[in-house]
């Protein structure tokens, strides 16, 4: 029932609306297209807050110094609808972030692509697409 997963038709609508970007604010205002980056690190905290979720990531630099990065992601509500809960990305997880650094020079970035070390995408699962929300059931 619900919404149909109609990629082709939908994508048409997509273009018709001219929208690669849909968000709470302007990504280009906050992040710098000239500062692409790739970070590998350990998750210390996952802030499941709106309008954007933030992953806190300890990243070890070439000099061995650890910097805490904050990586911006999408609204958590949509993740809840896909069945994810706060346990989906526990502290200690090793992830790889491809994205763009903040314009003001602080250790923040938008996480354009988030993967585990083995290349598997974060938050994507086959069951995620069908709209079930297992996380909302008791236990």
């Amino acid at each position: 029932m619900r919404r149909k997963w109609m990629v082709a038709a939908a994508a048409a609508g997509f273009l018709a609306m001219g929208l690669p970007v849909w968000a709470h604010h302007a990504f280009a205002a906050e992040f710098d297209a000239d500062k692409p980056l790739k970070l590998q690190g350990t998750v210390t905290k996952w802030e499941l807050v709106n309008p954007h979720s933030w992953i806190h990531l300890d990243v070890k630099g070439p000099d061995g110094k650890v910097t805490e990065w904050m990586i911006e992601g999408g609204s958590p509500n949509s993740l809840f609808r896909l069945g994810f809960t706060k346990d989906a990305l526990p502290p200690g997880s090793e992830i790889v972030v491809e994205g763009y650094a903040a314009k003001d020079g602080s250790p923040r970035a938008v996480g354009a692509s988030l993967t585990f070390k083995d290349g598997k995408k974060l938050f994507l699962s086959s069951s995620a697409a069908n709209g079930a929300a297992p996380g909302t059931d008791e236990k």
């Binding site: 619900r2 990629v7 048409a12 609306m17 849909w22 205002a29 906050e30």
Partner: protein, 332 residues
């Protein structure tokens, strides 16, 4: 990115989806009459179905609903382009889009297709377009746009309402798809209907006891709504908007009439008519179908986690400092 001159600046800040959807028509278009039109929506109708009612006899609209759709509000100005492939956040050259992966976060709007609604656009005017702006509105909008161009990065007040976490641009009334988390929940008490929208956790509590609108000097973001039942349809009349209201750049004189009817167990038909002689030459309206949503509404506490506002302003200030330093160097 294709951009209409009016929308350029707002697009820069908000992303362009809704802006494009709701964009003003080119001047000189013949506006249609609202009453004469009814764009065919091929939503299957079960003749045997009867609308559910509450024990007190009022129609039961309760539940969590999704008004997500990516049918454009207006008839597209250009022929739709060839259908592209599945969603990707890589550009043709393999570079990332400056954005997180929408599919990853469940924000891929390609899912926002209401079953069986095959209409090309949502408005109910005969030509599929929003009526032309009156000269007064053109002037007002141009002035606002000029102000925004010069001051959009000055401080929080000149950022878009959505970025301020005050209200999402499509929350209305009238209520249109938000792009993501386009969910709302209806709860009914005796003598009133509450409509909660997930975005910014905004609630409209609409009295249906025949009371008049509140004093006209009380102006609100969501205006002031009063309702009544016509058969199985909840009719909501809204006035008392602020002059900062976002819907289609209308003025504070915006008057919205919404008609909400349950047409199946899992479907609501939502129609609206808007009028504002200070903005459009004629009233106009649209029709949208809402589908039952299986999950509850989750808290969208926007302001509390609004790092974006701080970061945007701070990025801008950093850029300005950089430009200043560069200019100084140049001068030496």
């Amino acid at each position: 990115m294709r951009q209409h001159p009016f929308r350029t600046l707002v697009c820069a800040a908000m992303g362009c989806a809704v802006i494009f959807l709701l964009s003003a028509p080119a001047i000189g278009q013949t506006p249609g009459s609202v009453t004469k039109t009814a764009a065919a929506a091929k939503v299957s109708e079960n003749k045997a179905w009867t609308a559910p009612h509450l024990p007190d006899g009022t129609p039961d609209l309760q539940g969590v609903w999704s008004n997500a759709t990516n049918i454009p509000l207006e008839k597209p100005r250009q022929a739709a382009p060839a259908r592209p492939g599945a969603y990707t956040n890589r550009q043709a050259n393999g570079d990332l889009v400056l954005h997180y992966d929408n599919a990853q976060f469940g924000l891929d709007r390609s899912r926002n297709v209401v079953a069986e609604d095959t209409r090309e656009y949502l408005v109910t005017t005969p030509d599929g377009h929003i009526p032309a702006l009156v000269p007064e509105a053109q002037k007002r909008i141009a002035e606002r746009a000029a102000f925004t161009r010069d001051h959009q990065w000055d401080g929080p007040e000149t950022r878009p309402l959505g970025e301020q976490c005050i209200m999402w641009p499509n929350e209305g009334p009238p209520m249109l798809s938000e792009g993501y988390n386009s969910n709302l929940q209806i709860a009914q008490g005796p003598g009133y209907v509450a409509i909660m929208q997930e975005m910014i956790h905004d609630v409209r509590i609409i009295p249906t006891d025949g009371r008049p609108h509140i004093a006209s000097d009380i102006r609100q973001w969501f205006g002031n709504s009063t309702g009544h039942w016509e058969g199985n349809t909840l009719v909501v009349d809204t006035t008392n908007f602020t002059d900062k209201v976002a819907f289609q750049r209308a003025s504070e004189n915006l008057h919205v009439i919404e008609r909400i009817t349950r047409v199946a167990d899992d479907k609501i038909q939502y129609e609206f008519t808007v009028e504002d002689p200070h903005t459009w030459a004629e009233p106009w309206g649209a029709k949208i179908f809402w589908e039952k949503e299986s999950t509850p509404i989750y808290e969208y506490a926007c302001h509390e986690g609004n790092y974006g506002m701080r970061n945007n302003l701070s990025a801008r200030r950093a850029m300005e400092r950089k430009a200043e330093e560069a200019a100084k160097k140049e001068a030496k």
